[in-house]
């Protein structure tokens, strides 16, 4: 083990340029992937704040007694799809209407405080926000019979839903391509690095080295490159995150509803390091083994 480590170190020092390039390439690849994940996470956060805007308004029939309204609110609050239910009384509705359309104010005053119906404003949990689910939920309310009207911005829900699907497909394509593309680029670089050391490998073979003996230090070097590369990538991601957060500080509350740009959580960072280290090991090993196969 000690000997393997010493041999690895020697290989690294002898080909410092190749080692650094390998680590740099892994860092670049992971930085791209990490940034992608970071952007997706934050857009996801953004989209989920919108979802809260997609709510269902259920209007009570005129003269529904207050106790019935409260009972209905509690019943709905208990359903598993529901994130929150707010009770809007007729008075509150009238006040809201006057605020929204000031030119209607005199009309509303004429009509008295019961002019508009009371309603429940229902917000569904994000996971129940597909068009079908919202429709089904609204229909179940209509069918219950105590509401004169159930309103859920049919257009809005449908469009948001489609938008999210499209975004998810685009994101998947871009993310998948980034992953595959960078893997391809890293694998090529490593293959070239091995190719640049082809004479050395051939000589080791000729003096009686087994494949395992030759591959060992390469695999370990790959692991170290991956470790170094992923650490650098995380450091750069962090720097990027900090600089973006500073730049976005004024926009964030409005766009994301929070003061902070989300960074990758610790498990994701660990995963990134793991992917880098194992990936570096695997790619190096495959490259060397493939080359050794071609030797006599």
């Amino acid at each position: 083990m000690m000997q393997l480590f010493r041999r690895t170190l020697r290989g690294i020092l002898e080909h410092l340029y190749l080692t650094v390039v390998g680590a740099g390439v892994i860092a670049a690849a992971l930085l791209l992937i990490g940034t992608f994940v970071l952007v997706v996470r934050n857009l996801d956060g953004l989209v989920s704040t919108w979802n809260h805007d997609a709510h269902i308004s259920a209007y009570f029939r005129p003269q529904t007694p207050a106790e019935v309204q409260v009972a209905a609110q509690q019943a709905i609050a208990g359903r598993r799809e529901v994130a929150s239910v707010e009770h809007v009384t007729a008075e509150e509705a009238t006040v809201w209407m006057k605020e929204q359309m000031p030119q209607m104010a005199p009309v509303m005053d004429d009509l008295g405080k019961e002019a508009l119906p009371a309603s429940l404003e229902i917000v569904l949990k994000p996971e129940y926000l597909t068009t079908e689910q919202v429709e089904a939920f609204a229909k179940s309310l209509s069918d219950a019979g105590s509401f004169s009207e159930v309103d859920y911005g049919r257009d809005w829900v449908g469009r948001l839903d489609t938008f999210l699907s499209v975004l998810r497909i685009f994101g998947g394509v871009l993310g998948g391509l980034t992953a595959v593309g960078t893997l391809f680029l890293v694998a090529n670089t490593v293959h070239l690095a091995v190719y640049a050391r082809r004479d050395e490998l051939a000589i080791m073979r000729l003096v009686g080295a087994t494949d395992g003996y030759i591959v060992g230090p390469f695999a370990m070097e790959g692991a170290l490159q991956g470790l170094l590369g992923s650490s650098v990538a995380i450091a750069m991601l962090w720097a990027l995150h900090q600089s973006l957060e500073g730049r976005l500080a004024t926009m964030l509350p409005a766009a994301l509803g929070t003061q902070e740009l989300a960074f990758l959580p610790a498990p994701s960072l660990l995963l990134l390091i793991l992917v880098g280290t194992l990936g570096g090991t695997a790619v190096n090993t495959v490259a060397v083994v493939r080359f050794l196969r071609s030797l006599p």
Partner: protein
């Protein structure tokens, strides 16, 4: 120790060896001679498994290495020291590391490395050059590193391809004395060389190749 039966080696339509049969007994020392391109290096390549014969058998200590699966080649090579015609040193490694390589691949201990490597560098006259990178050495110095690496792990068979081509006369004599000494300790030695003077001074059986065909000669005394 070494037995070739009707060995043919063709590269495309070029025959490097045509029906060569020949034996070297354990503990023997034999010269391989013949003009440039006669097939000397090719024959040696068959013996350390860098090439496989087109037809015929190549036995090393009883095993037919032309039939050997690739995974078993390292085991054979550990018992066969080779001085390559083009040295095949690792140019970025030090002299000591190049020589140590042949010991490391057989799993020698640190202790063994520390003892054997300087000793063998001393023999080839490179004491004091241990830490020089092999790539910057002079031609003759590189050749001696190659010799040191070939003999460092006391192989059962030593194959030397033109081991004195880059050495001056007295150094060449020294190298031949080294090879003879090793031979006397029981190692089978096969030396490809052009140097008639040297062969006359250190007489041994010769195998002469001409255009890939064997023309055996008895040592002249």
């Amino acid at each position: 120790m070494i037995r070739l039966y009707h060995v043919v080696k063709s590269y495309g339509d070029r025959d490097a060896l045509r029906d060569v049969s020949f034996h070297v007994e354990k503990g023997e020392m034999v010269y391989l001679t013949g003009p440039s391109g006669a097939g000397k290096s090719t024959l040696l390549k068959l013996l350390y498994g860098a090439e496989r014969p087109t037809s015929g058998k190549v036995l090393i200590g009883g095993t037919d290495i032309s039939q050997l699966p690739a995974g078993n080649l390292p085991m054979i090579r550990r018992n066969v020291g080779v001085v390559f015609q083009d040295f095949k040193l690792l140019p970025m490694r030090t002299v000591a590391a190049n020589v140590a390589l042949a010991l490391e691949v057989i799993g020698a201990s640190e202790e063994q490395l520390r003892r054997r490597v300087p000793a063998v560098l001393n023999i080839v006259g490179l004491r004091g050059r241990e830490d020089t990178v092999a790539g910057v050495l002079s031609g003759g110095e590189q050749q001696r590193v190659a010799i040191a690496r070939a003999i460092v792990n006391d192989p059962a068979i030593l194959l030397a391809d033109e081991p004195t081509g880059n050495l001056d006369g007295s150094m060449a004599v020294e190298v031949l004395e080294i090879l003879q000494a090793i031979n006397l300790r029981g190692t089978t030695v096969l030396v490809a060389t052009h140097d008639i003077g040297l062969m006359d001074r250190f007489p041994h059986r010769k195998l002469r190749l001409e255009s890939g065909r064997a023309v055996s000669e008895r040592p002249r005394r």
